[in-house]
């Protein structure tokens, strides 16, 4: 049994998606790592399966800088949906931005468990599983 049932990677950079998936797979942290390029799609998926625990992720790794719907918009929308979900979904921001302003802004969303800067490291991945 792996520590997490499923993880969603939300990032429009395909290379980053792939690297993150490889790193997560290597540490055997989750049974299912799903990759999304479009935050809107993730939001719709979550809304649709709010009552279906098997379809909901345990953890979301969210990029901030994305086209169409960016990470901020996702967080705004998600904060309204998360109370209605049948199981807790943890959210980490995973971004290349080291801008202090971004870091502070993430603090506005108290359900976000951490602000991680790319790339992920083995240590951090280990902590995600706990």
């Amino acid at each position: 049994m792996k520590p997490l049932h499923s993880i969603f990677i939300v990032d429009d950079d395909p290379i980053h998606q792939q690297i993150t998936q490889i790193m997560l797979d290597r540490q055997h942290i989750s049974d299912a790592v799903k990759k999304f390029s479009d935050a809107q799609e993730v939001l719709e998926h979550i809304r649709e399966h709010r009552d279906n625990a098997a379809q909901l992720p345990d953890l979301i790794l969210l990029d901030l800088n994305m086209p169409v719907m960016d990470g901020w918009e996702f967080l705004e929308a998600f904060s309204a949906v998360r109370e209605t979900l049948c199981k807790p979904v943890r959210v980490y921001v995973l971004t290349s931005s080291i801008d202090e302003k971004d870091r502070e802004r993430v603090n506005d969303f108290d359900f976000v468990e951490g602000y991680l800067t790319k790339p992920l490291t083995s240590d951090i991945i280990g902590q995600l599983g706990q």
Partner: protein, 845 residues
Amino acid sequence: MNIALLHQVLEALPDPAAVFDTRLRPLSVNKAFTAENSRHLDIEQRSGDETFQHHWQRALRGERTEFVWVSGQPARHWRISLSPLFSASRTVESVLLTIRDIQLEVEAQENERFFRSVLENLPIGLHQFTPEGWSKDMNQAQRDILGEMHPALQHQPYNVIADPINRRNGLHALLEEVKHRKIPVSREMLLKYVEQEEENVTRIQPLYYEATGFPVLDKEGEIAYLFLILSEITEKKLAVLSLEKSERLLHTIVENLPVGYIQFDNYGFIRRVNQTQRRLYDSAGLNEEQLGLNELFLRVLQEGKVVRIEKKLEYTLDVPGGKVERELFLDLTMFPVEDPVDKDQLVVALVNDITEKKRQEIENTKAQEFLLQTGEIGKIGGWELDMGTGKMRWSAQTYKLHELPPYAAMTVEKALSFYTGDSRKKMEQAMAACMSRGKAYDIQITLSTARNNVIQARTIGRPEYRNGRIVRIYGVIQDVTEQYKIRDQLSRNTELMRLFFDTIDMGYAVMDKDGRVNFINRKAQEIVDHGKVIGRNIFEVFPMLVGSTFHARVQQCIQQQAPVSFFNYLPELDKWYEFLLAPMQDGSISIFTRNITESKKMQRELRKANDQLSALNKYLVNQNKQLEDFAHITSHNLRAPIANMKALMHIMSETDNEEERVLYVGMFKEVIRNIDETLNDLIEVVQIRKDLNVEKERLSFSDRLQKVKDILFVDIESSGIRITTDFTVAPDIEYPRIYLDSILQNLLTNAIKYRSRERSSTVHFRSWVVDGGVVLSAEDNGIGIDMERYGGKLFGFRKTFHKNKDAKGIGLFITKSQIEAMGGTIEAYSKPGAGTKFIITFRNE
């Protein structure tokens, strides 16, 4: 032959039939024949007829033959067939004659021929297609429209729906709509251009058509054929276009009128207000109600003529630190106009701000009152002499001056009796010269009043002409005794004055109105630095003063009889002087002057320093903004691939699997390509921001756009986008060529990339002038963008908002960089689904 059998066979035939022997005697005849023959034909009777005989002879020779027989009124048609029947010895024994009524057939053929010829000769193009769009048939007008070189006329299969040209001109969309909705659809479109030779000039004229597509449905309701009707409407279209153009022109004129313009419809709703009027409203915080336009509007409509009134408005203006009361005088002219096109009754109001003029008038009235008062104070009386009656009239003040009771009867002789000695002689001469030759006079004389007081008087006389003859002499008389005394005193004081003026640290001079210097103090003498000036004309001593500011101000001072102060720079001396000119009672002018070169220079230095400081400040603010931009870009756009690289190094070092390593190398390449691309984009932007002094030249918008269209030819063709322009108001601009090309290319590329698949795409470029600066807009009907959601990031580096694969998020960033580098601004207006409008304000030239 068995005649009974023959009878039966003939009777069984549906058509009239008969068998004749070779001498045209009936052997057997069926009932149908009997009926038809007796009713319409009468074969036996007409057998001598040439046509019949010709065919009968052929039948006798053994040939089968048939011919059409026309008979009756109106004519009916039958087809007569003659078939020879042979005996055993192969000789013609008898002939079978059958008759078929072909009237319906003939009529149908006739109808078709008729309709064909009508359609063929219609003055509108008619083209028939299969439901798939393959050309089937067309009439002459359509052939003319297409032209003989058109593929549909080259005996090749031609598909109107597949023709790429029709995607651009709208025909494709029209026919698709007809197919889809199965109803007739009409649209106006520009389908082709013709060349017209006009005195060695070839003009390209667009031809507009009303295109109507309609389906012909079969019994199942499916489309059997598509028809296209083309009707040329160029003249109408051009008339509409030129109407629009003249309306635009009118609008521009109205907008720029120096008087306020308000246009009402016949319900009293305001339809147009020009900028002068808007400025008036804004500056005084007024509205229509305060102007009282409602009542006026009703009056104009009721009376149907021009109403003109003057209106005084009082209003309060908020100013820093309180309110001030202001008044405004308006000249309102309102008149009815009939719209030349739809004959609607309009009402137009012209609003002229006449506050300044009004103020002047009030000033004048005051001045007149003042003059009257001066008359009293200055002891000036008026008089006139009517040359016709010899009657003399004096004003009250004149009587008073002569110490006579008012309105005592007066004659010229009696008037002259108050003068004695030289004064009398002078007066008589002046009067005589004025009466005979019209010579005006202004003389000073001694007058002895009725009570024998002697006074000094100045008397002025002028003639008035009517029809070339002197009808009246009029003038004033002034008691100048006191001035006379003062002047006497003055001359005694002159020496004292000289001493006084020489001691002040200011140049002082007196000159008469022609420029002759009557007095000059020591300081002024130093300033002019010239030998003897006194008694000489200043404009002769210093010819460079003729036409100078000094000269102009001297004249102003003389004309207005009011003090004038000004600064003047004398380039020969490289010095600034401050002047104060004051008119004096005797018509001469006092000139005060001092050297202000030092303070003036200091002032200029200060202003220069200030300008430099504000330019520097602007530059620093710009630099700061750029630094922030770049900090943001590096934090987001450069860190991302570098983080990827770091992670790749890590996972690569942890594996020995060769296959995995190959995969990672591939990913490395992709990351490096990404970094490379980002860096190149950044370098391009840095170059723009650095290159502030890039060379400018005068560029024509339409030339540059044509160039860009050539470059984007393939994209334009494949997208079918329709590009329209209006550069008439501002056709060109002073700008770096590469920037303008890049800006136009980005705007056009954007319009193509983000076009809507739901309608045929258009983009309209327009240029105009605002406050002396050129403004360019590009408006498309594409998919648009949610400005509330993305507005803040629209011009950001590497920001994209669509799932479009082509979107790189760099074009608008570069466009904005180029525009801002040259001191301009760019704005975007858009709604999702409703297209986008970019407005670029280039810096004022």
